[in-house]
């Protein structure tokens, strides 16, 4: 029998080689360490400090290592609240598509904190930014989400923003959205794709699949 039982289940690795203390100041220093592993642990531990949101968001913008980014986002989601949303929203303008997607997923996990900012995001001058806001809505657990998406298809002049909202409504729309969906193709009469995607969304809302 070579299965052995240890009284210490927690492994043989050295437990701690700390260069910084595990208080807020020490962790903020560690968040800028050269070693990604140290930055990752600092990010995870900073979840305990609600006023660390700004520093975590700043670090997130520069960070290139996936495990560190994920740790930062996990802590930001735990901290939650307005400072986190305000720190994450500008990152939707990043050129880094992976970071944008990670930020969209994080915002989706903060429905109450993000909701006061949705109308402002949907009114942004940059159509791409509005589309990312619509992507947030498509999987946001908030009762207003279908109404916000409906508002997009009634008001937004950008066809890609409207198409993204139609996609979202196909997932989370209710029958109240059907008149707006029915009217939408008239606004983009030159584009047969819009006719197709609104019909698909209506069928899904009505429960006919596809």
């Amino acid at each position: 029998m070579t299965l052995i039982k240890k009284h210490d289940a927690t492994g043989d690795a050295p437990r701690e080689f700390r260069h910084q203390s595990r208080d807020r100041a020490g962790l903020l220093c560690q968040l800028e360490a050269d070693a990604p592993e140290q930055r990752r642990w600092a990010a995870l531990d900073l979840a305990a400090f609600s006023d660390a949101a700004d520093a975590l968001c700043d670090r997130l913008e520069q960070e290139t290592q996936t495990p560190v980014r994920e740790a930062i986002l996990t802590s930001l989601i735990q901290i939650g609240g307005n400072p986190v949303v305000c720190g994450l929203m500008p990152l939707l303008r990043s050129e880094d598509a992976a970071l944008r997607n990670q930020v969209i997923e994080a915002l989706q996990q903060l429905p109450e904190a993000v909701s006061p900012y949705i109308e402002r995001m949907l009114a942004d001058d940059d159509a791409d930014y509005r589309i990312f806001a619509i992507n947030v809505l498509a999987n946001l657990r908030h009762p207003q989400a279908p109404a916000w998406l409906q508002d997009v298809i009634e008001r937004d002049d950008n066809i890609n923003a409207c198409a993204a909202a139609v996609d979202g409504l196909a997932e989370i729309g209710t029958p109240e959205a059907i008149p707006a969906l029915t009217a939408l193709p008239e606004r983009f009469a030159d584009d047969p794709f819009m006719q197709f995607c609104t019909q698909t969304a209506i069928r899904r809302i009505q429960g006919h699949g596809a």
């Binding site: 070579t2 299965l3 289940a9 927690t10 492994g11 995870l44 996936t66 908030h142 209710t174 699949g209």
Partner: protein, 281 residues
């Protein structure tokens, strides 16, 4: 006065719910589960004081706390465990995973395997039996089996190692005879050697401070646990499991669970027997 019309779930409602539940949990209900799903859905519609599927479904999708979805997940998933459950992952362990792990082990270095939640012990003891019976190199390495659960009652039951007929029903009879003693009341007592081979500990996967100490694992079996968590807890758990693994270590989830839906931290590895996840080296 007319009697109230009993609630019923239409075919379209079932489809709609099935799609939604799949997107949220990765669990897909076949048509033959229709009665099972309908009954539990109706129970939750009534328990939440809703009068129709439609009202309940709107509440379910937009409730910010996610508590009702969690309730629903709890009753839609059957929380059962038995010896050799989802055996293909144990086969993958002995045929593929361990052979890869030992290529980067020094001879004196132990292989560490973690089972959580261990519940009443069926999974870690299955691992012990599988290693002893089916991994040809078992005598060449020291293997540590750690089994953890949040529930101390379950841990005590696991340490005792006494099981009913249902728990051992999937064990080949020769292995049942070899590792268990049949008792007069129809239950089975696992033998002392196996009981001594597993270290049972109490943990809370959501407690970062406690979990910080759990490190250096080569393989983690964490099956059918994450489906019970909400999105944030699932994400924290994934971080914790990542921290617990050695670089290149593997994690096995339940067949309806997907790490890729939670985090990009792990690589997907396709072995002949199973798809499992790996911490990058």
């Amino acid at each position: 006065m007319n009697a109230p019309v009993p609630l019923a779930i239409t075919e379209e409602e079932f489809q709609k719910f099935r799609d939604f539940f799949y997107r949220k949990t990765g669990i897909h209900f076949e048509e033959n589960k229709r009665y099972f799903v309908d009954k539990r859905l109706i129970d939750r519609i009534l328990a939440t004081n809703n009068t129709s599927f439609r009202n309940y479904f709107v509440m379910l999708r937009f409730e910010t706390s996610g508590k009702e979805l969690q309730q629903l997940i709890n009753i839609m998933t059957v929380n059962e465990t038995y010896f050799f459950r989802e055996e293909y992952q144990f086969t993958c362990l002995v045929n593929s995973v361990l052979n890869e792990i030992v290529t980067r082990k020094r001879p004196s270095e132990p292989i560490r395997i973690w089972s959580l939640p261990s519940s009443s012990g069926e999974e870690p003891y299955s691992l012990a039996i599988y290693l002893l019976e089916y991994w040809p190199r078992v005598d060449d390495y020291a293997i540590e089996l750690i089994a953890s659960d949040i529930d101390t009652t379950m841990l005590e039951k696991a340490r005792q190692g006494r099981y009913d007929q249902r728990s051992v029903a999937h064990l080949p009879p020769p292995l049942l005879r070899k590792y268990f003693t049949a008792l007069y009341d129809g239950s089975y007592q696992i033998n002392d050697d196996l009981r001594q081979s597993v270290d049972f500990t109490q943990v809370n996967l959501s407690d970062l401070a406690q979990m910080r100490a759990y490190r250096d694992f080569d393989v983690v079996f964490c099956r059918n646990l994450l489906i019970y968590f909400d999105d944030t807890s699932r994400r924290i758990a994934a971080e914790t499991l990542f921290n617990a693994l050695n670089p290149g270590g593997f994690i096995c989830l339940g067949h309806s669970e997907s790490m890729s839906r939670i985090t990009p931290l792990f690589k997907v590895r396709k072995f002949p027997e199973a798809i499992i996840y790996q911490k990058p080296r």
